[in-house]
Amino acid sequence: MKIAYFPGCCYETSAREYDVSTRAVCRHLGIELVEPPDWNCCGSTPAHSTDRLLALAMAARNLAQVEEMGLAEVTASCALCYQRLALTQAELAENGELLAEVNRLTGRPYRATVKVRPVLDIIAGLGEEEFRSRVVRPLNGFKIAAYYGCLLVRPSKTKVDDPENPQMMDRVLRLAGAETVDWTHKTECCGASLAISNEEVVVRMVARIIKAAALAGADCIATACAMCHFNLDIRQEKVSRLLGKKYSLPVFYFTQLLGLAMGLNPKEVCVHTHFVDARPLVKKII
């Protein structure tokens, strides 16, 4: 399977682990990811919160390249990138005038034919048998809170799973041998980019999520979004201070966990570079 891959802006910085593990897992599963040659920002918050057309045009310019590459589908690991691309595709496909206007702005004619899917959906879409046969190091003893965040399953125009109680990530993690907990904050907002302007609010929002995961008995959290991971991983000390209780739940990208289950070297999926040390947990299976 060959599919275009939009890495997004944090792939070499804060979300390097996501990019590296996504590529490693896909390689292992025989999914060939091809990066568009000249991709730009997906049109995230700085763009879409100030100028809708700008945000659409930025995403469309990326999508146009996928068309030029002759590929039918594009995936993004980061949930923000995925959501921007998917929403843009949905809006341009149903509004010819808007598409024309956007094409005028980008100078890169797009025909709105590309299907946008999150990496999670692509991996979850593999057959159950196929998937099981790849698992050589089951995640025995992992109790995971699968955290989808707010953007992967919303809005309804682009949603790939139930927005209140999604199951996709739970399913693949269980296939990989882990236990996933039934918990209450699967799709709550992590505070996202308020991290820059109002950290206090973000710490409070993250605190609820961490607390809910711990209450449900999870020993780690799996995410599918660069922003979520960032907020959950680096703020646990502040959360502990706020709640007056020590929390240190390792936060993984789900692709890292799948990589481990498929027998990849922990270093290959970068489990050693998180703020909350994940290595003791990983030792359970290695």
Partner: protein, 661 residues
């Protein structure tokens, strides 16, 4: 040549303010056949009608055209005037120059006047081809079928029976009573629901004019107003009611426990059971799905212990057919299945998130907790109770667009009950608007408010458990702030929707439902209890959300309409009906397929062809059922069907007149 009179109405300034009426009168006077034309301020008034009557006599008119408003409004009025003038009332034709002309062309009086003339030209052309029509009289069966034994069905059945007519009350469940018997107290007076409804259940069941059928479903309704033929299925109950005394030994000894529907699964009943102590009839039925004898082939305990030998395992579904003159549908409502769509409230996974109806059962002294308000999860008394209104109502995204009308009031009632029964309790109510229009309703709400219920204007975005509490997150849109309440119990006011087999009932009765599935009344203001199928009436919440006072009033109105229908031994039916010319009919029966009233049937006729007697099939219209819509006439490929009063010839003449051919 006919002698046609044209009467043009000003309708005050409605028509006269736009259309140049005197000019119109002058121009239509020149139309072929018109021997008299005049105008008047209000043609429908007493003097206006008098003008028509006098003119018919003085000018020996034989056809009348009235140019005024829509025939829906005043065709009847003018037909009566024409009759008083001495003509057949169907020799009247109306020209609608108000809705079709002056109201929509206010900005162009010149063209409006021209159009008025054209519209009248059409009517005159048709008038010249009108034929006298005669109303038919048919006998009426003076008996009524009431479908559904909630408070609506019970009230209407009692009213009709009291008026002296026979009533068959068919209820799907093993007992009548509907939702009202589940309730504890009723707003706004807080009188005990069972105390005011169970005596009515007894009266209706014992009424000499009422035949009560329970576990009964209507399978087929054929025929037409005054003469319906109904088939009712009586489901096998496995108990012979002629022998059973209702002593209760059987359900005491029955070994099988089943969650009790009457308490919404919060208590248990047996497999042979009485739904509740005051059930009517006060005799048990066997639930075959759970009965040990039916599922495992052995047990027979009830049979052994029954002192009256009333148990009959061999009982089978029976079908009875009934002749009735009218059918009243009172199939009630159900509650919206919130758990399948409201993921943010937990998809029904949290036991302490309940509906208002669960609350009613709980707070009811005869309910599963003996009247104590408790948390289903652990049986403890809640200290903080949150009510969430409009769950499924006023929610286009997940539920219904409409307001369910009763929830604001019963939430206020339940808030009051919590504050009354649990000292020191805290009550929060999340609402969009508080809608309390009704006598004593606003006062009732204010009382709950003053007792300490805290109303928060805003929707609840999420409910989730945290340790032993339910965290309710929402917005206070008046303060513009998010709010969070740690609750012990959450009560959802879920939307009222039509009963689950409403669609089937509508199909069987040949009536329409609105887009939400509630049965459609014939007119939202003027005919709220009739349907578009003559002889089929509506009562209660099957027509739309209502509280008990409105339900009872609606049922009373339906009963009065039905009594009016039955008061005469015969009824007249409109002569505007389709007619098949059998000579032309090829028997394709397309007309039967397109008829929305099931008024067309196949009929075999014998005829001589080349001296040989032959049989063939043709269509026949049942004039009792035909509502004169004309679908069959339009659909007929061989032009064999004509609608009386709207014949092909008449329509062609109208078109020609309009097009100036």
């Amino acid at each position: 040549m006919h002698r046609i009179g044209v009467f043009v109405c000003w309708c005050g300034s409605n028509i006269g303010g736009v259309v140049d009426v005197p000019r119109v009168v002058r121009e239509v006077a020149k139309l072929p056949g018109v021997v008299y034309s005049t105008d008047y301020k209000y043609m429908c008034s007493e003097p206006g009608q008098g003008m028509i009557i006098r003119a018919i006599r003085e000018h020996r008119l034989d056809r009348v055209v009235v140019a005024s408003c829509s025939p829906r409004l005043h065709e009847d009025t003018f037909r009566k005037a024409v009759l008083l003038g001495g003509l057949n009332p169907y020799l009247l034709e109306m020209a609608n120059i108000r809705e079709h002309c002056s109201w929509v062309h206010q900005n162009d009086p010149e063209k409006a006047s021209e159009k008025a003339v054209a519209i009248i030209r059409r009517a005159v052309a048709k008038a010249a081809r009108l034929e006298p029509l005669v109303q038919k009289r048919i006998p009426v069966t003076r008996r009524v079928l009431v479908v559904g034994g909630g408070i609506a069905g019970i009230q209407a059945a009692l009213d009709i029976a009291e008026a002296g007519y026979d009533v068959v009350l068919a209820e799907k469940q093993p007992t009548i009573g509907g939702k009202m018997v589940l309730l504890d107290k009723t707003f706004p007076t807080l009188d005990c629901s069972a105390c005011i409804s169970t005596p009515k259940m007894v009266s209706v069941a014992r009424h000499p004019n009422v035949l009560l059928l329970t576990c009964a479903e209507v399978e087929e309704i054929r025929g037409f107003v005054g003469n319906f033929n109904v088939t009712v299925r009586l489901k096998a109950i496995s108990v012979d009611y002629d022998k059973c005394t209702g002593c209760g030994t059987c359900w005491e000894k029955c070994p099988t426990k089943v969650p009790n529907e009457f308490d919404l699964g919060m208590s248990y009943r047996k497999a042979i059971y009485l739904p509740f102590a005051q059930a009517m009839p006060n005799k048990p039925v066997i639930d075959r799905e759970h009965c040990r004898f039916f599922t495992q082939g052995k047990c027979r305990v009830c049979e052994k212990v029954c002192p009256a030998q009333a148990i009959n395992y061999a009982d089978q579904d029976k079908f009875v057919t009934l002749q009735v003159g009218a059918v009243l549908l009172a199939t009630g409502y159900e509650l919206f299945d919130w758990a399948s769509v409201y993921g943010e409230y937990g998809y029904g996974r949290y036991p302490d998130v309940i509906t208002g109806l669960h609350f009613e059962r709980m707070v009811n002294a005869g309910g599963p907790t003996g009247g104590k308000i408790v948390r289903p999860s652990d049986g403890t008394e809640p200290k903080t109770v949150v009510f969430v209104q409009c769950v499924g109502s006023r929610d286009e995204a997940k539920g219904k667009e409409y307001c369910s009308r009763v929830c604001c009031m019963y939430t206020a009632k339940q808030a009051h009950q919590v504050l009354e029964k649990i000292p020191g309790a805290e009550v929060y109510v999340f609402y969009i608007d508080v809608r309390c229009a009704g006598k004593g309703y606003e006062e009732f709400y204010l009382r709950a408010l003053h007792e300490g219920a805290q109303y928060i204007r805003g929707r609840v975005s999420k409910i989730y458990p945290e340790e032993k509490k339910l965290i309710v997150k929402g917005a206070d849109t008046l303060l513009g702030r998010p709010v969070e309440v740690a609750a012990d119990l959450v009560v959802l006011a879920t939307a009222m929707i039509p009963s689950q087999d409403a669609a089937k009932v509508a199909r069987v009765a040949g009536i329409s439902a609105d887009r939400d599935g509630f049965f459609l009344e014939a007119h939202p203001k003027l005919r709220p209890v009739e349907t578009n199928t003559a002889g089929i009436f509506l009562a209660g919440t099957c027509q739309g959300p209502k509280d008990i006072p409105d339900t009872v009033a609606h049922a009373g109105a339906a009963a009065a309409k039905i009594c009016t229908l039955l008061a005469r031994p015969e009824m007249t039916i409109e002569p505007v009906a389709a007619e098949v010319n059998q000579k032309l009919c090829t028997g394709c029966l397309l007309c039967r397929d397109v008829c929305p009233y099931r008024a067309v049937e196949a009929k075999e006729i014998e005829e001589k062809k080349n001296g040989v007697l032959q049989r063939r099939v043709v269509a026949e219209v049942n004039s009792g059922l035909c509502q004169g819509c004309g679908a069959c006439a339009a659909g007929c490929r061989s032009g064999a069907i004509d609608l009386k009063g709207f014949t092909n010839e008449q329509l062609a003449a109208e078109v020609a007149a309009l097009c100036g051919w």
